[in-house]
């Protein structure tokens, strides 16, 4: 009898990432992820609206401690994510190749994603100093404006499977928000692999939650959800935008459109992406107006 030397392939089931855990979808639905030639490379969870709800509950629960964490510590954690992606670089590159990128494009994408994480890690404890202001007012008040995170932010990840995802995720969590990411429908594998990195890199459970599923099915539920504070839509194509904006009116959530398709450009990364996901709180603090008293010192 001829003994087969060919090893059976071990296909992976990519699970969801909710509240620091990797549950399967509660709906029990899966789809096959295909490579460029149409061969099955993995099973993916098809998340349901209840998975979305769980993710949003987890994100809300994690918001308090994440937003109050020392800014430099958030920076350290983002840097740690970058370190771990770096150490798993080959795996990320191979996975991107499976999804149809060339070796050089996959390498570029992965390197840029790591650099992006480090870029925003650096901004964590600096953007407040740049964007907060002391305002001149005509009354006896000390008037100042400071940044506060918006809260729970839903990110609709762009088509660039790793870099695009990191480019929307990093400014969101750097600013103290917690995120529910809907991985790009066409290329979702890298998102879940990134979740596996996040899980082992000091990111508290619930700060980032990643779902794979159908946009058409899940978007209405996410955008109408009253406990989501903002939605980031990062595709150049703005066709979806009016309907998103209409659905978001229920709790007046912010809908941000970052219309990009080339995430490699240097100017894509910017502290203004952090600012986009901040609310500005202005405080009027009564003071004695010394200059007004006429004293000249």
């Amino acid at each position: 009898m001829k003994k087969s030397t060919q090893r059976l392939s071990v296909l992976k089931t990519y699970k969801l990432y909710i509240g620091g855990q990797f549950p399967r979808t509660e709906s029990g639905r899966y789809v096959a992820a295909l490579d460029a030639n149409g061969n099955k490379i993995a099973n993916l969870c098809l998340a349901s609206r209840k998975d979305c709800r769980e993710a949003i509950v987890a994100a809300r629960g994690a918001l308090g401690s994440w937003s109050q964490r020392a800014a430099n510590n958030r920076g350290q954690i983002l840097y740690r994510i970058a370190e771990l992606v770096e150490s798993r670089k080959e795996a990320f590159i191979a996975e991107l190749q499976q999804q149809g990128l060339s070796r050089s494009a996959a390498t570029r994408e992965t390197n840029a994603a790591i650099d992006c994480l480090i870029y925003y890690a650096g901004w964590c404890d600096k953007y407040q100093a740049i964007f907060s202001t002391v305002n001149p007012v005509a009354s006896s008040h000390y008037n100042f404006s400071v940044c506060e995170p918006m809260g729970v932010v839903t990110l609709l990840a762009p088509a660039s499977p790793l870099l695009g995802l990191v480019s929307v995720l990093a400014p969101c969590v750097a600013g103290g928000n917690t995120a529910v990411v809907l991985a790009n429908e066409k290329r979702s594998l890298s998102a879940i692999s990134l979740a596996e990195v996040l899980h082992s890199s000091d990111v508290p459970g619930g700060v980032v939650n990643i779902l794979t599923g159908s946009y058409a099915e899940l978007l209405p539920w996410i955008v109408e959800h009253r406990d989501v504070n903002a939605v980031v839509y990062a595709e150049k194509d703005a066709a979806q935008l009016p309907s998103l904006r209409t659905k978001a009116t229920g709790n007046l959530k912010r809908v941000l459109h970052w219309p990009l398709d080339d995430w490699q450009q240097a100017e894509v990364q910017s502290p203004y992406r952090i600012l986009d996901l901040q609310e500005i709180k202005t405080t009027w603090h009564p003071i004695q107006q010394i200059a007004g008293s006429g004293a000249s010192y």
Binding site: H225, R226, D227, G250
Partner: protein
Amino acid sequence: MKTTRPAVFKPSLLAGPAIDQTGVEERTARFTKRSIKAASKMQGLLMTLSMIDLTTLEGKDSVGKVEQLCYKALHLHDAFEGLPTVAAICVYPSHVRTAKKALQDSLVKVASVATAFPAGQSSIDIKLAETRFAVAEGADEIDMVISRGKFLAGEYEYVFDEIAAIKAACGAARLKVILETGELGSLDDVRKASQLAIAAGADFIKTSTGKIQPAATLPVTLVMLETIRDHYYKTGCKVGMKPAGGISTSKLALHYLVMLNETLGADWMNPHWFRFGASSLANNVLLQIAKEKEGCYQSPNYFSVD
């Protein structure tokens, strides 16, 4: 409703079937898989609200906090018409008078914990005095804890006599007996303690104080419900059930109602015979009701905390 049970301890009170833990767990797992359609779900949610003993049992409870909770009991969410009130407010004896005054002539009952809650480590005289105090302040229901230490040491007669004495001190107030199942160890002990409490005169049996983990679980509650069922078959007397602690989502509450319906039937599906001891369940149910009404998921921001 007069009971004619003899409040005399007999060792035969302890005899009962051995509990098959695996069987109980498999049975309770099935209650969580029933398909509940939207209309039934809405009915279940409203029923859940009407069965809640809205509870605050903290060292930091104040007059203001209790008054606030009583207001919440009467006005769960005024934006929605036709919501029931909760069944009762559950407080420490020192807050019974405040609660009674705040609830005035509404149908919401005032339940008071007593007998050195939550540990129950005190003398019978003090426990009796505390019970009489709570009743004199106006409590409609008394939630007592059993002496778990004595129970686990095998002093069943002591536990029995204690419950019977407290029952006598309650007068017209209904007595809920907290078994604190998280400290009993096995389902066999839960069954035994349930039989003991029922025989000694409990109007309700209750799982937990809420101060010990695990608190109420589906398996423990099933064993207690089956004890109530067996007692009913034997004597024709009904006893109420109150799972308490750890029931914070409406989904779980609906699982309990399914279990109640399939174990004791429709006669028990009302606040007179079934209660949820909970502090955060009410708001979770309100979120679900709002979601059913408005068609989108809700935020706790739009509901009063208490």
